[in-house]
Amino acid sequence: MKLTLRTCDKEDDFWRVRNFLRKIFLLSDRLEFSAHVALLDHWRWHYIETCHETAPFDQVTSIWETADRQIVAALHPICHDEICMYVHPRFRTSALEDEMIAYAEEFHADSFEGGKQILYATVFPEDTQRRQTLTRCGFEYRRARDFYWWRDLDITLPDMPSTLGYEIRSMGTEAELPARSWCSWRVFHAEEPNENYDGDYLWYKNMQSAPLYRRDLDIVAVAPNGELAGFCTISYDDYTRSAAIVLEGIAAEHRGHGLGEALTIAGMRQLKRLGCTRVFATANEESTNAMYRLVMQACRTADHWVKIWTPDKG
């Protein structure tokens, strides 16, 4: 079948890609062979809007369409040298994946030392076809680092651990944004001096602008002294009845109280009330991984496949 490749240059295209992801997510039995729509939102409203990891989506997202404009594949970088590929299972061929990789090498590779180029993709070990494609295109396997957890919510949830003195509740109003932002700083930058913190909390408004953001699924832990001690921000997609934890963390001075577990379980309870039947979370480091091991049900690891090459000067 003849497919047309083009850049998503209209706002409408972005929303079509979102619904495309939802459809292939259902066709993949709701396993993350393609990204959950919540992660596409997080890329746009956090990685791009706040972190400026890539150019705006309409400059870097490409789609492959059938003659009747049905999207069958999409591709975009997620940061400076990593790509995400989404392919409709019924249209998945080696030729299409080869074309997507060739396109990514041309437009999404980053500069690497010695005038070389670098590009990488994350692949599940059981995705033989993608591994073969990448091997054929000169990519090399790197050891697994990413842990993809999930839990079905139609089974009994774990008991809520005691969080003596801490209150678990929904994120408050705009007045709470500075405290929320400071908490994030203490989670992700605990080893840096506090004076490095710029006090700008507008990034959080970007998070709240994502279409799947719901304040009642943005769960926070409040310490006895009133400061925010931790958070678990969940995006729920009621089309696929599944959710993804997009941000989770405990401020350094509040670790060791079971807050991560409590926040996640509180979020799961709220999700269940809204009809959600599966929740996902990703961990890249051991402390988060250990926490998800307590509250999630199953896990898959994903490998990195990297290509470093010298561009053809001709």
Binding site: W15, S209, P211, L212, R214, R215, D216, Y236, R241, R273
Partner: protein
């Protein structure tokens, strides 16, 4: 093609019906020839859970499917025998609609005091195809209208002044449910004695349990004394990029201060920020009609078609 028909059976069927409505809504150019998914949520979490219009979702909705299990039509009732038909446009046929109405006439009718059975449904005044079809089954047009307003949110919104002394904001936490429930009472039952109010706000928790509920799209106006004076609760579906105002009201003692317009405008503004491109509101009575006429751009009228038989 031969279709099979069955009442909704179980949770999975309900969620499939939700996504079916979304697909059909897009195929109908996002016009309300079928229900917006928000209305299905409101039907379940308010009309059934709170108002008990029927004993369960299963008792109120039936689906038609292709042999491979694809939903192509659905019918449900709102209690009191009021029907809603939802048909996939590619599978429309007069035979299918006859079959759906025959099912409804057998299962969803109500009985009047004189023992006669009746059933009715709204039909757009420009939908001559369905009008002719129901006429052939003995339905007759009755007094009673529905005004179905909509507004595309692609252009900037007008900014009405915030009524002095009121705070327009998101609905608060659980501690505010009592005030919110009382405001509803004063908005929709202001002609009744306050002693009739039962003080039970559990109905509001049902509204908040709907999958499309978001507290930041549940806009309230709080009065200088801190009590809630007005509300605009919106369900937004980011799949179809469209929304419905499911509850809009102003407590009687705060009428004529522009509060309805203020809470709606704030809601529309927030919808725009979330990528919503079209919003719907339906009015069946004059005060709501006047508010929506001032806020929303376009409107379609439905007439009521009734069938009575012995």
């Amino acid at each position: 093609m031969k279709f099979t028909q069955h009442p909704i059976t179980g949770e999975d069927d309900f969620w499939r019906a939700r996504n079916f409505l979304r697909e059909v809504f897009l195929l109908n150019d996002r016009l309300e020839y079928s229900w917006h998914v928000a209305r299905l949520d409101y039907w379940r979490w308010h009309y059934i859970l709170t108002c008990n219009i029927c004993r369960s979702v299963e008792a109120g909705m039936a689906l038609w499917e292709t042999p491979d299990g694809r939903t192509i039509a659905a019918i449900n009732h709102l209690g009191g025998s009021e029907l809603r038909l939802h048909v996939h446009p590619q599978f429309y046929s007069a035979n299918l609609e006859h079959e759906m109405l025959a099912y409804a006439e057998e299962n969803y009718f109500a009985t009047a005091e004189d023992g006669r059975r009746y059933i009715y449904l709204p039909i757009f005044e420009d939908d001559t195809r369905r009008q002719e079809l129901v006429q052939s089954r003995g339905y007759k047009k009755q007094p009673g209208w529905g005004h179905h307003y909509r507004r595309d949110l692609t252009a900037p919104l007008p900014v009405p002044p915030t009524p002095s002394g009121y705070n327009i904001r998101s609905m608060g936490d659980e501690s505010e449910h009592a005030s919110r429930s009382w405001c509803s009472w004063r908005a929709f039952h202001s002609d009744e004695p306050d002693s009739n109010y039962d003080g039970d706000w559990s109905w509001y928790q049902n509204v908040q349990s709907a999958p499309l509920y978001r507290r930041d799209l549940d806009i309230v106006a709080s009065a200088p004394d801190g009590n809630i004076a007005a509300f605009c609760t919106i369900y937004y579906d980011d799949y179809t990029r469209s929304a419905v105002t499911v509850l809009v009201g102003v407590a009687a003692e705060h009428w004529r201060r522009g509060l309805g317009k203020a809470v709606m405008t704030e809601g529309l503004k927030r919808l725009q920020q979330l990528g919503c491109t079209r919003v719907f509101s339906t009015a069946h009575e004059e005060p709501a009609n006047a508010l929506y006429r001032s806020m929303l751009k376009e409107m379609k009228v439905t007439d009521t078609w009734l069938k009575e038989w012995s």
